[in-house]
Amino acid sequence: MHDSPDPGDRRDAVCVVGAGASGLTAVKNLLELGFQVDCYERETAVGGAWNWRHDRSPVYAGAHLISSRPLTEFPDFPMPDTWPDYPHHSQVLSYLERYAAHFRLGEHVWFGTEVVSAVPTGDGGWEVTTQSTGGGSSRTSRYAALVVANGHNWDPRRPTIPGEFRGRVMHSSAYKDPAVLRDRKVLVIGGGNTGCDLAVEAAQQARQVWHSTRRGYWYAPKYVLGRPADQVNDRLLKWRLPLRLRQWLYRRTVAMTTGDLTRFGLPEPDHQPYESHPIVNSQLPYYLGHGRITPVPDVTAFDGSAAELADGRRIEPDLVITATGYRPRFEFLAPELLDADEQGRPDLHLHTFARKHPTLAVIGLVQPDSGVFPLAHWQSVATARWLRLRLTDPARAAAVQQKESAKPLASWSKRRVVKTERHWFEVDHLDYLRSLESLLNEMEPA
């Protein structure tokens, strides 16, 4: 491999963008169905977001999984059963490296190569222009299909806060090591999992910590009833307990352990449990109880050395970390190919299949209440089988497409979640996997 495909027409080969977790599983599953695959990766190694050496990697020294091992691993390549319930990010990277080596995926990856544009050719194919990362001559190749797995946690969403701030402001993507927190007065903005993790790290290192959240959340502990909480939750789902009952159980469990967090000054959640992306953090209530974290509302403005809060208070941090998440970004694709809205959020069938381009799929663009890897795996299996069906039985493929396109959004994304910008691709892992399962069954030879 790796000799130049000439004259750039790769015929039935599939182009995969990115060699992170989603890209790797896409490559593996496409190869398994007999496709030739060229995968382009801008970095020089696999692992994507999980590779802390990558400049776009959001991981920080203390990052651990928030979903437990069985709900995080690829369904056909388990993590070692001797690993902890919630592995460290460096273990996840070594897992991805072993996955790539085990299935010999590296042979199909062009490292240090960025995709700068991908344009449909009109007959279902794609013209993909690549370039050495950071410049160099470009090359254009033709592919039969395009599978995008460029990740969605690398383009920081920074809040616009009016006024000048004299201290240091950094996005959580730039936060790597707790050393920057030591003996500082730290304000962490953002109530997501990263924001909560950083507030806890700051509580262990900094002189003073404020944690600014817009709303109250339900903080799930990592363990309940002696098991990882997500495993207990899936047991309730297995028993098909109705949502109302699960919400009641959730509130009971919270009441019996950490209790009402408003007594620490947190706002009351404006939604029920299960109506936002789960925040899994056992230590936040602990440090609230120790008085090491002071909850504060929204930051409305900066004023010199001070931050003004929505309740009129002024605080004077010397380091502000904005853990305000990331935006999906597909700079090599015209937005209309993905039916993206003004914020760049694509509208895809099952968050995977482009509606007007049957040979374009996106892998891993979901935010489930479990790990993403299993979903990315099954998305890849479905994509590979879909692309093969198009080749072997176009008539059936058309029928499947017709049937799938009639499925309402609610059938695969039943979750009712708080209306915020970051919850647009929230899925319930069970509903979502059931939808993929039905698609896979539809594509089976009769």
Binding site: E32, L33, G34, R69, P70, L71, P75, D76, F77, P78, P80, D81, T82, A101, H102, F103, R104, D230, Q231, V232, D234, R235, L237, K238, W378, L430, L433, R434, L436, E437, L440, N441
Partner: protein, 260 residues
């Protein structure tokens, strides 16, 4: 063929606990990229049964060869878990080779791990048919097990008598190492899961096997849309028989063709 297996509540909510796994490994002098082989023994056998001949022979032919002893007291699910864990820990996609009940474990493991290829040797996929054969060949050793007593396997069940034959000492030695602890779940009728990935599957056996009857062998092969490769004159324990070299050579030849 069973359906796709996306919802795995059992694995998600009640993962198999880790256990120390005995893996015997023999690596070839030079690694030229051949897939590693993972041998899975059947009822009462351990990694030793493969370490006797097949492991060194496979390593001699350039294949990294590993054999796994089932965890003591483990049920079928735990055994499948151990096979998948061991396979995934190898540096490359592994070939799973199961013998007897070990072939049932491999058939199940294929639903969890995309093996490079798989071989079911004298496979015991249906417990009832194996029980019937065992009652015919060795009623005295089998009947007590039905009422909760000990199961003992006999030389007549596992080895053939005609030339070339094992010596009496060899047979006594092998039999003394057997420790079969059958579980009732082996009698449960269950279709093996849909294999993940695209592993080619080879079924081998002997028409003179007194554990796996000919129809059972044909059924197993048909389930993977093939015909069994036969080694007439051999007993059930293909890897311990005096003519052990024939089946392993056939397996490795088949494999060499598959991985081209």
């Amino acid at each position: 063929m069973t359906a796709f297996d996306l919802l795995r509540f059992e694995d998600w909510t009640n993962p198999v606990p880790p256990a120390d796994r005995e893996v015997v490994s023999l690596l070839p002098e030079e690694d030229d990229g051949r897939p590693p082989l993972l041998f899975v023994p059947g009822l009462g056998h351990g990694a030793w049964a493969f370490a006797e001949h097949w492991l060194p022979h496979a390593a001699g032919r350039g294949f990294p060869a590993h054999a796994l002893t089932p965890r003591p007291g483990g049920d079928l699910r735990a055994q499948v878990h151990d096979v998948v864990q061991t396979a995934a820990s190898l540096p490359r996609q592994a070939v799973l080779i199961g013998h007897g009940v070990g072939a049932l474990v491999v058939a199940r493991a294929l639903g969890r791990y995309p093996a490079r290829a798989a071989v079911l040797a004298a496979p015991v996929l249906g417990g009832w048919s194996a029980l019937g054969s065992a009652l015919r060949a060795n009623p005295g050793g089998t009947l007590p097990a039905l009422v909760g007593g000990r199961l003992s396997l006999s030389a007549r069940q596992l080895f053939q008598s005609g030339p070339p034959a094992l010596t009496a000492e060899q047979i006594t030695g092998y039999l003394s190492r057997l420790d079969p602890k059958p579980r009732a779940e082996l009698l449960r009728r269950a279709t093996p899961p849909r294999p993940v990935g695209d592993a080619p599957v080879l079924v081998i056996g002997s028409p003179d096997d007194r554990v796996v009857a000919r129809p059972a062998l044909d059924r197993a092969a048909a389930a993977y849309s093939g015909a069994p490769l036969m080694f007439p004159g051999m007993g059930h324990d293909l890897m311990l028989e005096a003519s052990w070299a024939e089946p392993i050579d056939a397996i490795l030849d088949w494999l060499t063709k598959q991985i081209k």
